[in-house]
């Protein structure tokens, strides 16, 4: 019985020593390995773009004071969404989007301007500042525009953006209207003034 045990131990030892000889390749002066890469590319989707929650912007009434100028203190804004469809919570189309702002009937000398509703000789130039959500890690796109037909690059809003979204949440865009100042004792802007602007947002 003891001899059998010793033979078994010897056989096991031989087996262990033989393991390296069972390697899967033969050492040589040259060796090769291969890999294949595959990827599928699909064309871009042309998104359906919709603007949600763009409302009128009332600027209120301001009382001129004799001898004092109005210095760009009349400001109004509105928040709105640019919807391009969603895949889950992510915009189907990541942007950028092209936004062009026209003044209906044209501006005054090429500038955006409020016009006298009853007196066409009255007008007040305005600056439109439009900023949107981020595209990736980039800063918010958009900017200030003054010339009729100006174009900005914008980002789509998040899926959670609704007409009630405010304060740039959910990548809502914000448009701010800032009229130029009125010189002291100038009646250039007296009366009711208004303008209608059309925003066209499109995917390239």
């Amino acid at each position: 019985m003891k001899m059998n045990t010793r033979f078994s131990a010897a056989a096991l030892l031989c087996a262990c020593m033989s393991v390296p000889a069972l390697a899967d390749t033969v050492p040589a002066t040259q060796s090769t390995g291969q890999f294949e890469l595959i990827v599928r590319v699909v064309p871009p989707v042309t998104p359906a773009v919709t603007i949600i929650g763009l409302d009128d912007i009332p600027l209120g009434t301001f009382q001129r004071v004799a001898g004092e100028a109005l210095e760009n203190q009349i400001i109004g804004h509105d928040d709105f969404c640019i919807n391009t469809g969603w895949t889950g919570s992510t915009a189907t189309y990541p942007g950028p989007l092209s936004m062009t702002v026209y003044q209906v009937g044209g501006g005054v000398s090429g500038r955006y301007a409020l016009r006298g509703r009853s007196d066409p000789s009255k007008s007040l130039p305005v600056t439109l500042t439009i900023v949107g959500g981020r595209i990736g890690a980039e800063s918010r796109p958009g900017g200030a525009i003054t010339t009729d037909g100006s174009t900005l690059q914008m980002a789509p809003s998040f899926a959670s953006c609704t007409a009630a979204s405010t304060n740039l949440t959910f990548n809502a865009a914000r448009i701010t209207v800032t009229p130029d100042g009125v010189p002291a004792d100038s009646d250039m802007a007296d009366g009711a003034l208004s303008a209608i602007f059309a925003i066209v947002v499109s995917a390239p």
Binding site: K2, M3, R6, A10, L13, C14, M17, S18, P20, A21, A23, T25, V26, P27, A28, T29, Q30, S31, T32, G33, Q34, F35, E36, L37, I38, V39, R40, V41, V42, P43, P44, V45, T46, P96, A203, P204
Partner: protein
């Protein structure tokens, strides 16, 4: 490190035990002998480990109508081993291309080959870099052109990663704007890495 084949020419010597007639213990001894033979390819040999005809599916990428689309390819790790100290000679070649042509993934449906990338051929351009385990050597690879590299760190095997194995980083060129250079469909490339003695 590949172990040399060991020929277990062991002569096992042992002392036959005496009949156990009530002893409380028994002792024995044995001697082991072996002979180590040189590899069949000679004492100096090379080997690549961890790159066994892998097919790496990078999934689906949606290109952009107006802007280039960045994308990424994960790093590959493998061992470049040599049985003796010294460098190894490495060459990466893409099947179906000629030496010095750009690496790329070629369209399966429009296989026309051009060296002008990425604007003209229906292909996706690639740049390949081979990094040694310690990042001391970072070589830009030219298709079909051999160069010398240090071998992998000791202990490198098919499962080794950063710090031990060599790293192949593949940097794809952005997919061009679809409106200018439409790219769509399946793209692929088969690459062979050959390691040899310098």
């Amino acid at each position: 490190m590949r172990l040399s084949p060991i020929h277990p020419l062991a002569a096992l010597l042992f002392t036959a035990a005496s009949p156990a007639l009530g002893e409380p213990q028994s002792t024995g001894s044995f001697k082991v002998e072996l002979t180590v033979a040189a590899p069949s390819g000679g004492a100096d040999y090379v080997e690549i480990l961890g790159l066994d005809n892998e097919r790496i599916d990078l999934g689906t990428i949606q290109s952009s109508q107006s802007a280039s689309t960045p994308w990424a390819i994960p790093d590959l790790f493998f061992c470049l081993k040599r049985s003796t100290p010294g460098t190894v000679r490495v060459m990466v070649a893409q099947a179906g291309t000629n030496p010095n042509e750009p690496f790329r993934l070629q369209s399966a449906t429009n296989p026309a080959i051009s060296t002008n990338l990425p604007g003209y051929a229906d292909a996706l351009g690639l740049s390949l870099y081979l990094h040694s385990a310690d990042n001391g050597d970072n070589d830009y690879l030219t298709n079909g052109v051999a160069f010398d590299q240090v071998n992998s760190a000791p202990g490198c095997d098919a499962n080794s990663g950063l710090g031990i194995a060599h790293r192949l980083s593949i940097q794809p060129a952005d997919i061009p704007a679809f409106a200018s250079f439409p790219r769509q469909g399946l793209y692929s490339g088969l690459f062979t890495i050959t390691v040899s003695l310098p």
